[in-house]
């Protein structure tokens, strides 16, 4: 197999510059990062710390009831080692209240999305207190596959690693010396116990990213399939998923009625 994404040169320096510029332009004091124990948020908080200094970065943990205590401890320790202060806000009281209020919501994806949106409501409240922007940990693989919750983890001020595939994030994490247990942990959205991204998406990120890179480069499906080592119909199904999830990546559609329309051709 060929065609795996390669970490773009100067990725870390470029993201540092991006973070500094946006914090300055917003007149913010820094950024707040939600820490999940996964590789993506570990990389984002590290990049933010390197770009802005630990005194301008805040970490927040908003774990649900199923979050393993050992992982909580490890995540807090990781932030502490970076010099980044953390705030722990258990999600259970909010999530339980929402579940009681909405007994008709039984679908586990709907329930998972609701939890994620509550988590990000907490992050925004904390960020406001610090005068910070919320930096999300979404990567390019998730954005393209729509493996994000609209107005949850997808609703943030900045996506510093949003143009890096999961494969790139892993390479960057290795380059940054992110501890091995964080790098080795199977990615999960944490919607339910035992959930993993790769099982739910039906392929490993290694394969998905080769396909996504092929789509990015507008290669013919047969070639993408060969490079990723998957059948052509698998490429087609990933491509149609990317298109189906487009609504999560574009500005809210507004019907054009006037000369310049927000989200369409109002360019400022």
């Amino acid at each position: 197999m060929t065609g795996e994404p390669r970490l773009p040169p100067h990725a870390a320096e470029t993201i540092h510059q991006f973070l500094r510029a946006h914090v300055r332009a917003a007149g913010a004091k820094g950024v707040l990062v939600g820490l999940s124990g996964g590789i993506d948020s570990a990389v984002v908080v590290r990049l933010a710390r390197d770009a802005l200094g630990a005194e301008r970065v805040w970490g927040a943990l908003v774990p649900d009831a199923a979050f393993p205590p050992a992982l909580l401890e490890e995540t807090e320790r990781y932030a502490r080692d970076l010099g980044v202060p953390t705030r722990l806000v258990p999600l259970a009281p909010l999530a339980d209240a929402a579940a009681r209020l909405l007994p008709e919501v039984t679908d586990r994806v709907a329930a998972g999305n609701l939890k994620v949106r509550l988590r990000f409501a907490v992050l925004y409240a904390l960020a406001r207190e610090h005068g910070a922007l919320v930096a999300g940990a979404g990567n390019k693989s998730e954005l393209l596959l729509g493996y994000v919750t609209k107005y949850g983890d997808g609703g943030v001020d900045l996506l510093p690693i949003g143009d890096l595939y999961k494969t790139d994030v892993r390479a960057l994490a290795a380059e940054l010396g992110i501890p091995e247990p964080i790098r080795a942990r199977p990615p999960t959205a944490g919607f339910w116990e035992g959930q993993t991204d790769e099982e739910e998406l039906g392929a490993t990120y290694d394969v998905l990213d080769r396909v996504l890179l092929g789509l990015e480069e507008l290669r013919p499906p047969e070639e993408v399939a060969a490079r990723a080592g998957v059948p052509v119909d698998r490429v087609a199904s990933i491509a149609s998923r990317v298109l189906r999830e487009r609504h999560k990546r574009v500005p809210v559609p507004i019907p054009k009625l006037r000369l310049r329309t927000v989200g369409l051709d109002w360019r400022d």
Binding site: Q17, A21, R260, R267, D268
Partner: protein, 266 residues
């Protein structure tokens, strides 16, 4: 001639602040030529505001630039949106050459990138030709960013007598290595030194890549002193070097590409 390349981040949509910064930075430095990046006056992603931000003949910002060039006794080169009275409703992506005598001239960008994140073809009117402009008695060819990828422009400028190329740019970090390759090539293929000022900073998701530099007629880098910018970002810099304006005239007899292409056009 001592020159300065201002690898800086303009404030988006704040022309007066950007001009004041040029004035401050030149106040303490005696240079004969100061080059600042593409659309330095307005910032790059000013969208529909670019028309309102455009410099026009006799307008306040242009008069201020002419004042700065005269007060600092320097040739000033910088990018700005320009509007002219006989082309109502149009705006040009231009590089200005302003002399210490208060004269100002400009070259309009030839090729407007309208691909990837760039929408210049939607906003600006392109130029159909390039002409050298006089700088301290030497004809000089000016070009903007994506123009650097069209050797035809530089050949046209060289055949019209240019002895120096000045290139200003607002180019992202993802293109930096490409500029590092083509700019020395433009110098070698025309026997003409190149000065290049690219901007820094971030506008939306565009991260501008710096990498400003200077190359002699052989395409070799001209030594530059990197001076930190007071209160600047780490990627910002003032690059100061020494330029020999007579170099092209001395070099071309030994590598007469312009003579030969004139005698045997491709």
């Amino acid at each position: 001639m001592r020159f300065l390349l201002g690898q800086l981040t303009p404030r988006l949509g704040e022309p007066l602040e950007n001009l004041a910064r040029i004035d401050r930075l030149l106040a303490s430095r005696a240079v004969g030529l100061a080059v600042f990046p593409e659309l330095f006056v307005s910032g790059y992603r000013a969208g529909d505001r670019l028309r309102a931000l455009a410099l026009s003949p006799g307008g306040g910002p242009l008069l201020e630039l002419e004042r700065i060039a005269a007060a600092r006794n320097t040739w000033l080169v910088l990018g700005a949106p320009v509007a002219v009275p006989d082309r109502a409703g149009e705006v040009f992506n231009a590089v200005l050459l302003i002399g210490p005598d208060g004269s100002s001239r400009y070259q309009v960008k030839r090729y407007l990138p309208t691909y990837g994140p760039f929408e210049e073809g939607r906003i600006f009117t392109p130029a159909g030709r390039s002409d050298p402009l006089p700088l301290a008695g030497h004809p000089v060819g000016l070009a903007i960013c994506y123009d650097a990828f069209f050797p035809e422009i530089f050949r046209e400028l060289a055949l019209k007598g240019s002895e120096l190329f000045l290139v200003v740019s607002a180019s992202p970090v993802t293109s930096r290595r490409l500029f590092e390759k083509v700019l020395p090539a433009r110098a070698v293929e025309n026997g003409c030194p190149v000065l290049y000022a690219n901007r820094t900073g971030v506008e939306d998701g565009l991260v501008f890549g710096g990498g400003s530099g200077a190359w002699d007629v052989r395409g070799e880098p001209i030594a530059l002193d990197r001076v930190a910018v007071p209160d600047g970002e780490p990627e910002e810099a003032l690059l100061v070097g020494e330029l020999d304006l007579a170099e092209a005239g001395r070099w071309r007899p030994f590598r007469p590409v312009l003579r030969d292409v004139t005698a045997h056009p491709p």
